[in-house]
């Protein structure tokens, strides 16, 4: 997956082309507003992520556009027909339309939930900010990677560090480079890898935890043994040795490695929680109905634990971010700049915190990570509203 793509003119064209689809459908169905919005959404996401952003957005936008006008004439609950008269055979096209409309409705419900909770919306805006920063920021702020040795050296200074100024809002780093440009250009790889690692961690933990608790017996014992083993082996020596053996070209495998080392804690919590939940009426009922493990996990157990799992995922993401900072310096991934992780490590080893004019190099990426985490945490408020209907209704 090419997650390194940046906003580009090609993307703009792709976005515009993609946007035509919802626009035309919108015009034909006489829902001009949503059609136009769909066009803009496709334009934006195509612009940001090329085909990867444009195509999925077509589906989403079309779904929303359709959902405005779609009425399900065959809905047995809305029609007065008796059961015999209802036509359950529908054409493929009709089915797609119906599915799309359903999807569109959920998107609308989700979006409404998103906007409704103020704190959650703030978190959403924060995430959007980071998205814009890393996708569109590079178009506005060029990367400043050349060391500007003489022209940026201040009188009497023995480093090229400089504190924030009007010209360089976040100051200059140890090589006299603009920190702001490094913040803008250096976040994407770290964020993407960390989010991958966090999500992978949670997925592994939830699946294994649920299997351990619901299946029990040998798989349970085996998984506990593995979890204990991973928890107990000293990670630093392990990583040092691994770094000598392997180096990653693809950061996805780095994320995978982090996930493999990180899942046991959450897995144990999930396992314990599922052990409690499995006594619940609805889980017992699901068992009795023989609905199968995936169903029980996805439909019965997960919603119950969703907010706990989401917050754990966020913490895994944060953990992964700082772990990557360390791993870059164990040589597991090529040392590429600009990168927040490189900034954090260099900032620390250059003693940036001790000098007022240098602190920005270390604190800028750290605060960026902290604010990113804050946005995620706030955003969970909205997610809770979407996923936990009980909360929607209040206590």
């Amino acid at each position: 997956m090419d997650l390194q793509s940046v906003a580009s003119p090609t993307g703009f064209v792709i976005g515009a082309l993609c946007g035509l689809v919802p626009l035309i459908i919108g015009i034909r169905r006489r829902t001009f507003g949503p059609g136009l919005l769909g066009f803009l959404a496709c334009l934006f996401s195509g612009f940001a992520c090329n085909v990867l952003g444009g195509l999925p957005m077509i589906v989403l936008a079309v779904a929303v556009v359709i959902s405005y006008t779609y009425t399900d004439r065959d809905d047995p609950f809305l029609s007065r027909a008796t059961i015999e008269e209802v036509d359950f055979e529908e054409t493929f096209g009709a089915m797609i339309t119906r599915r799309l409309a359903t999807l569109g409705r959920s998107i609308r419900v989700g979006l409404r939930a998103l906007v409704r909770n103020k704190a959650g919306f703030l978190g959403f805006l924060g995430l959007a900010f980071f998205f814009m920063l890393t996708i569109f920021g590079p178009m506005v702020i060029p990367y400043d990677g050349e060391p500007h040795y003489y022209d940026r050296r201040q009188e009497g200074a023995i480093t090229l560090f400089q504190g924030p100024s009007a010209e360089f809002p976040l100051g200059l780093d140890w090589q006299g480079r603009d920190i702001l440009s490094h913040i803008v250009h250096g976040g994407r790889a770290l964020i993407v890898t960390a989010v991958e690692a966090g999500v992978l961690t949670s997925v592994i933990a939830v699946i294994l935890g649920a299997i351990a608790a619901l299946v029990g017996g040998l798989p349970d014992r085996l998984m506990n043994a593995v979890a204990n083993f991973i928890l107990t082996i000293p990670q630093f020596p392990l990583l040092v040795v691994l770094a000598g053996l392997i180096s990653f070209k693809d950061r996805f495998f780095l994320a995978l490695l982090l996930a493999v080392l990180d899942w046991p804690t959450l897995m144990r919590a999930v396992r314990a929680q599922v052990l409690s939940l499995r006594e619940r009426d609805y889980v017992e009922a699901a068992y009795a109905l023989d609905l199968g493990l995936p169903h029980i996990v996805l439909r019965e157990v997960l919603p119950q634990m969703i907010s706990y799992i989401v917050i754990s995922t966020i913490f895994s993401i944060r953990g992964a971010m700082y772990a990557i900072v360390g791993l870059v310096f164990l040589g597991m991934v090529p040392f590429t700049e600009p990168d927040w992780g490189v900034m954090i490590f260099m900032g620390r080893s250059q003693g940036a915190l001790f000098s007022a004019s240098a602190a920005s190099m270390l604190l800028s990426p750290v605060l960026a990570v902290a604010l990113f985490q804050l946005s995620l945490v706030l955003f969970t408020r909205s997610l809770e509203e979407v996923f936990n209907p009980r909360l929607r209704a209040g206590l």
Binding site: R80, R116, E279, G394, L395
Partner: protein, 348 residues
């Protein structure tokens, strides 16, 4: 000062309850009134989402934060004969009122027991919250009540909820409900999640308890056969409103509201096969933007243009039998036909 007829213990007067939802206010209960007399069992029947549970939560003032009682009064006659409006109570008084005066047994038996503490701790908690600090006395009373609901008292008393079967839990809840000798017990679907034999046991012990202790019951159910067996009075709720209320035989044999009749038609009996069952088509209405006129009219097979226009008032058409339906005469005719075809409409 409000007054109540002498034998009325609980009087709900013109109560409306709404929830603050995303799209606006959901009118969950709309101008509901009824009286509950001493020793009487009132069955509230209706589909899920019709406001039965909200109403009962409203009575003990346990609505979620987003829910509020917009108008009306809930009057309660204490044993001393004092009449209080529950809506005037402060938190402290409310806590005293709950359970000691009016207990509520919730729908999902396991889920209303704290899974991590023993039954006895819940019992002690309850007793202590109402100033009964004599643990030994509490224990004795509880054991006695357990015996009465046909539970092995010592075992159950010291058990954790998950160690009990569904039926046992339900009976534990029943027994706990009457621990403080309340005047009113609200039972929210007490027999949903249990098998048919357990259901019988529960109903039997409930009857026994009612006889020996003399409390009044508000019985919430969508199971008409059980309602018929237990209730003195039946109220049908639809879309937050009571559309028909009357003595049990009157309502079941001479239903006058199309919705009640629809519910009766949907009851399986031994004599009728499943293929004869007729369900009420459609689903309960949107309570934020309810239909005009009679809220049932979009689903009603007898609906006339008038039904869509005007709201039918609740009028007493037979002694103690009130109904809100313009076509009650037609319904009555149909239901009598039905009663004839099935010797016992609610019979099991």
């Amino acid at each position: 000062m409000d007054t109540l007829p002498k034998d009325v213990v609980l009087s709900v007067q013109d109560i409306s309850i709404s929830y603050l939802a995303h799209r606006g206010r959901t009118q969950a209960v709309n101008r509901v009134s009824f009286d509950l007399r001493k020793g009487e069992t009132l069955a509230l029947i209706g589909e899920s989402g019709c406001g039965k549970s909200t109403l009962s939560l409203g009575i003990i003032r346990l609505l979620p934060k987003t829910g509020q009682i917009d108008q009306g009064k809930i009057l309660y006659a204490s044993r001393g004969g004092e009449v209080i409006n529950l809506l005037d109570l402060n938190n402290r008084q409310l806590r005293d009122f709950r359970w000691a005066e009016c207990a509520m047994v919730f729908q999902a038996a396991l889920n209303s027991l704290n899974p991590v503490i023993r039954v006895r701790d819940m019992v002690y908690d309850t007793a202590r919250a109402h100033g009964r600090t004599d643990r030994e006395a509490t224990r004795k009373r509880m054991l006695e009540l357990f015996r009465r609901v046909r539970l092995d008292p010592d075992r159950v008393f010291n058990a954790y909820p998950h160690e009990l079967s569904g039926g046992m839990r339900q009976r534990v809840l029943l027994a706990m409900g009457v621990l403080l000798d309340p005047q009113v017990v609200i039972l929210d679907e007490p027999t949903t999640a249990v098998d048919i034999l357990t259901q019988r046991t529960i109903l039997e012990v409930l009857k026994e308890l009612r006889e020996s202790m003399g409390f009044s019951i508000v019985f919430i159910s969508h199971d008409l056969s059980i309602a018929a067996e237990m209730a003195d009075t039946v109220a049908t709720m639809y879309a937050g409103e009571i559309v028909e209320i009357g003595p049990v035989n009157e309502v079941f044999y001479r239903a006058r509201h199309a919705y009640t009749f629809g519910l009766l038609e949907a009851v399986p009996t031994l004599s009728s096969g499943a293929q004869d069952l007729i369900s009420i088509p459609g689903s309960p209405p949107d309570l934020i933007e309810p239909p005009t006129g009679c809220k049932f009219h979009p689903r009603c097979p007898l609906a006339t243009p008038r039904c869509a226009r005007e709201v039918p008032p609740l009028v007493e058409e037979a002694p103690g039998h009130k109904v809100a339906c313009f076509e009650s005469a037609q319904v009555l005719a149909q239901s009598q036909r039905l009663a004839e075809s099935q010797h016992s409409p609610a019979g099991l």
